[in-house]
């Protein structure tokens, strides 16, 4: 590069024309607008602020969760166990259960309040021919959790029973 020293020095004597004074004002206005919208944070401070904001939010969330759990536990009356029976002996809400049987399983002051069934796994076990049938069926096994709930309208106490169930369905397969 030493051959170019002279020409480099000549070039460095040339001065670019200065930009207009309005340029800085315009940039300043633009940056101020951005900052007022809180869309920009100074480069060096950005990461630090963001990290601390994240830590603060996480701490606040933990605190809220903790308070909520404590309040929930203290405010909610403990469910009263009024009967312990094998699930299959309990009357399903909405199901037709003989009144005599029902009265022996669930105390009469409790009325059905809710019933949920959550399927959490299904498995297609393939095709098979049921005995005595020439039409194939597909066997589908579903595993579920059912939850039944009764409530005493007088006291507000509730009885909830949850148990796993498994169901096998035979779905007829029809040819095209």
């Amino acid at each position: 590069m030493s051959d170019f020293t002279e020409i480099e020095n000549e070039l460095k004597k040339l001065r670019p024309i200065q930009p207009s004074a309005q340029l800085i004002t315009r940039v300043e206005r633009e940056l101020a607008a951005v900052e007022s919208d809180q869309k920009v944070v100074m480069p060096e401070r950005f990461r630090t602020k963001w990290v601390w904001a994240g830590v603060g939010l996480a701490a606040a969330a933990m605190l809220l969760l903790f308070v909520h759990l404590r309040l929930d536990r203290s405010a909610q009356p403990q469910p009263k166990i009024v009967a312990t029976s094998p699930p299959q002996q309990l009357a399903r809400p909405g199901a037709s259960v003989p009144s005599q049987a029902r009265s022996t399983i669930v105390p009469p002051e409790f009325v059905p309040a809710a019933a949920t069934q959550v399927v959490y796994r299904t498995e297609d076990e393939g095709l098979l021919f049921p005995t005595g049938s020439d039409q194939p069926v597909r066997r589908v096994r579903a595993q579920m959790r059912e939850t039944l709930q009764w409530q005493n309208r007088t006291t507000g106490a509730s009885l909830r029973v949850s148990y796993p169930t498994e169901e096998v369905r035979l779905v007829p397969v029809y040819g095209q």
Binding site: M1, F4, I7, E8, E10, L11, K12, K13, L14, R15, P16, I17, Q18, P19, S20, Q22, L23, I24, R26, V27, E28, E30, L31, V34, K39, V40, V41, M42, P43, E44, R45, F46
Partner: protein, 170 residues
């Protein structure tokens, strides 16, 4: 420009964008003038690029990226222009006449030098502008242009050779 390092250090610690922008603006506008015809357009490009760069929270001393942003905004401006076809034809096929770096020339020798710079092929002039009036390293120039450091250095040497030949005809 002799205090550039000091300014950069100041920016890193105090984030005084106005100080660093005042320092860099003439070179940035000169750089932008390679793609647009008027100083006003070049200033628009520099303004957009600087704000964009700042918004993205890039470190201000990442000059390769800053100049790449200016270049990108300038090329976007050309593409977006309603007279796109004509502008692109002028910008690319007739580049050497269309782009005129602007200098404060005080005597005939400076005017001759400025005209010689205008006659340089665009890739060489681009590197020359970044090296001489913006004081970027070849590594930074390479980053800004998306070429290797060696390519940037070669273009610079070709530019100086061409200028020497132009100014001192055999």
């Amino acid at each position: 420009m002799k205090d550039r390092e000091e300014v950069m250090e100041n920016v890193a610690t105090h984030e005084d964008w106005k100080t660093v922008f005042s320092e860099l603006a003439p070179g940035l506008v000169l750089f932008a003038r390679q793609w647009v015809r008027s100083a006003a357009d070049a200033e628009d490009v520099v303004q957009d690029a600087f704000v964009k760069f700042w918004r993205r929270n890039h470190k201000i001393d990442n000059r390769g990226l800053l100049y790449a942003t200016v270049r990108s905004v300038a090329l976007d401006l050309i593409r977006r222009d309603s007279r796109r076809a004509r502008r692109e034809r002028e910008a690319y096929s007739d580049f050497e006449q269309a782009v005129e770096p602007q200098f404060r020339t005080e005597d005939e020798s400076e005017r001759t030098l400025a005209l010689a710079i205008d006659r340089l092929p665009h890739p060489q002039r681009e590197v020359l502008v970044m090296k001489i009036w913006n004081e970027l390293s070849f590594a930074e120039i390479g980053e800004a242009l998306g070429v290797s450091q060696n390519t940037a250095a070669s273009r610079y040497r070709y530019a100086l050779t061409a200028l020497k030949k132009d100014l001192l005809p055999q």
